[in-house]
Symmetry: C2
Subunit: 197 residues, 2 copies
């Protein structure tokens, strides 16, 4: 029913590799992780890894794009289930905080890794679709009058910048309590920063 009749079923190697890679990259960084490490951690041999991915950078690239796609899906979901900029932006921060607590590695790799050093050909996170969607929310908030009219970049940065830095602080172990316990305070500050009244 599928494509090739005789070849083996699609293996689960790639997902195992990506999962192990996320752990290793967030713990030790891209350059401190060897392909041997990935093979050991994932239980997949080097040969297989190179069969499924072009090279080490290809592994990182696949991982990166996977996570960007996932983020974009989450943001679209929020875009669709909320109508005001206020509700949308708050939901975004809540979502980011939640992922940070449940899957710190995902956030670590998305927001904290210096992709440009090992993925020179990928579009930087801040120019990626998810970040564009966040700016779009802010923009719409200006047209509805919820948010003061100003440079969209400035407004977006002020509205989300605090939360993003709270996330990195949490990942650095500087915050004793889970992010959810700071959410109300952060949101009060962030919204006051850009709202009209």
């Amino acid at each position: 029913m599928r494509n090739a009749p005789d070849t083996k079923r699609n293996s689960k190697a790639p997902t195992q590799v990506l999962s192990a890679t996320l752990s290793l990259f967030t713990q030790k960084g891209y350059f401190n992780t060897s392909v041997h490490d990935i093979a050991r951690e994932s239980g997949v041999s080097i040969g297989s890894i190179y069969h499924h991915f072009k090279d080490k950078e290809g592994v990182a690239s696949a991982l990166y794009n996977n996570l960007i796609d996932r983020m974009e899906a989450e943001l679209s979901q929020i875009m669709n289930t909320h109508s005001s900029a206020h509700d949308r932006c708050r939901a975004v921060i809540e979502m980011l905080f939640s992922i940070t607590e449940k899957e710190p590695e995902v956030m670590e790799f998305m927001l904290y890794a210096k992709h440009s050093e090992f993925l020179p050909n990928e579009v930087p996170v801040c120019s990626s679709k998810p970040f564009e969607l966040m700016r779009e929310m802010v923009k719409q908030g200006m047209t509805t009058g919820e948010i003061r009219v100003m440079d969209v970049m400035v407004a977006s940065t002020c509205l989300f910048g605090g939360s993003i830095r709270m996330i990195t602080s949490r990942l650095d172990g500087l915050l004793p309590k889970p992010l959810s316990s700071y959410l109300d305070d952060i949101w009060t500050c962030s919204w006051r920063a850009v709202t009209a009244k």
Copy 2:
């Protein structure tokens, strides 16, 4: 009149090395820069580099601590020449913006590099003296009633987080105009976020 009578005068090699290193690390990153690169760029031989520094990490470490010290000096200066939290914090942002425009490499290395990956033994930036001073300013602002009473970490992050992300955006080339042209808007947002009324 100095210490050793016969040995050559203290060479300027170390400063040349650190200067070249800053350029290379910010352009290509720590791991993409070899000691050979540093030798070539600085005009100092490998042997000399290893004479002055323990190893490659030692070069990075010296650079890092130099810049931290410099930042601390700038912040102390601001602490002494301004009295209110309002004036101090605004001056800090102005200073950070100014350095970003005049010496982008300094900010790039301070705020954007993932030090933990190549300087595992150094204290992270966010726990360094300069960042502590910034939190101290915020703390004092709460006692004087300028800033709403809340978790100091939350307030500091909200007050400075937007500006710090503007800096990284600027370094990423996402902002067409120099940071100074956004300063007033950013400050309005940031201060509204934490101020009492």
